[in-house]
């Protein structure tokens, strides 16, 4: 069965306050890095998945992302997916 490598990026929805991101943005200024207008913290999840084909892998990862890795009430997710070399 082919192996697929995926990276799921989970980010807070734009409407949701990110206090940790705001605190980090404030620290960036104290470090001397000026001009940071926006800093949002999310999660990156790496997955190696066996599936019959790309479409099946995408379907499984969609389910995984929607139902477990992200909470759609507060988070969005995006998927990068490729068959392993």
């Amino acid at each position: 069965m082919p192996l697929f490598h995926a990276r799921v990026q989970v980010t807070l929805r734009p409407s949701v306050l990110d206090p940790a991101g705001e605190a980090t943005r404030a620290a960036a200024a104290r470090l001397g890095v000026q001009g940071v207008q926006r800093l949002r913290i999310g999660k990156s999840v790496e997955v190696a998945l066996e599936a019959p084909d790309l479409a099946a892998a995408e379907a499984q990862l969609g389910l995984l992302s929607d139902r477990l890795l992200a909470n759609p009430v507060i988070e969005d997710w995006t998927l990068e997916l490729a068959e392993a070399e």
């Binding site: 409407s15 949701v16 306050l17 990110d18 206090p19 940790a20 605190a23 477990l68 890795l69 909470n71 009430v73 507060i74």
Partner: protein, 217 residues
């Protein structure tokens, strides 16, 4: 009549809930390990506070898949009384028994203090012994208690009277000052404050007592 108390790896208020129910109210309880499925003979279920599964991924996200919660979900669907306290509230939202999500406190601080709450019992059977507009004091102890939901849903919750507990002085940035939510039917209550820590006058008040008494009636 026995009350079930769900225990996950990482629960830490399970014994407090047992002490409040048995020690203060004389009510028998049974611990439900997360892998159990047998709810026979239980009149109500409490999902206690703590850090189920280490709060990995998101608070309550892994707990949601515990076998015991499939049964708790069915129990709630049959109208059985279910109470989620703190992490238990987070679990109820992840399960979809209550809408919305609990997120990081606005201040980023873990808050451990007494809070004033305004009670609007509505149809919530857990709050049957409180009067509308009554103010009570219960302790909070959480890092992720900021209630989040989209504005239209919050509006609907308000209209249906499901926002049953509200902070008088919002400590964590919760939308709508939400401290506790009921489902529409009134048998499921999730709240961030800890009623089980307010059942004995020697440990700071008894305002939580009437809430837990509902599990016994």
């Amino acid at each position: 009549m026995t009350i079930g108390i769900v225990v996950f790896p990482g629960s830490n208020c399970d014994r407090d809930v047992r002490w409040a129910l048995e020690g203060c109210l004389g009510q028998p309880t049974r611990f439900l390990w997360h892998e159990e499925r047998d709810l026979t003979g239980l009149e109500a279920i409490v999902i206690p506070g703590g850090f189920s599964y280490g709060d990995y991924l998101r608070c309550g996200a892994i707990a949601r898949f515990a076998p015991v919660l499939e049964e708790v979900s069915a129990f709630a669907g049959r109208g059985g009384p279910v109470l989620g306290i703190c992490n238990g509230f987070q679990v109820l939202t992840e399960m979809g028994l209550l809408p919305g999500a609990l997120t990081r406190n606005r201040s980023l601080h873990f808050l451990c203090e007494s809070t004033r709450l305004q009670v609007e019992p509505g149809a919530c059977q857990w709050l049957h012994h409180y009067t509308s507009g009554e103010q009570i004091s219960l302790p909070i102890a959480h890092g992720e208690g900021r209630y989040q939901v989209d504005p239209e849903e919050l509006q609907r919750l308000e209209e249906r009277g499901q926002v049953v507990l509200r902070y008088v002085a919002n400590p964590n940035g919760s939308l709508g000052d939400v401290a506790g939510l009921s489902n529409q039917r009134g048998n499921v209550l999730g709240l961030m404050p800890h009623p089980e820590r307010a059942c004995d006058p020697t440990t700071g008040g008894i305002d939580g007592r009437r809430l837990l008494e509902m599990a016994c009636s």
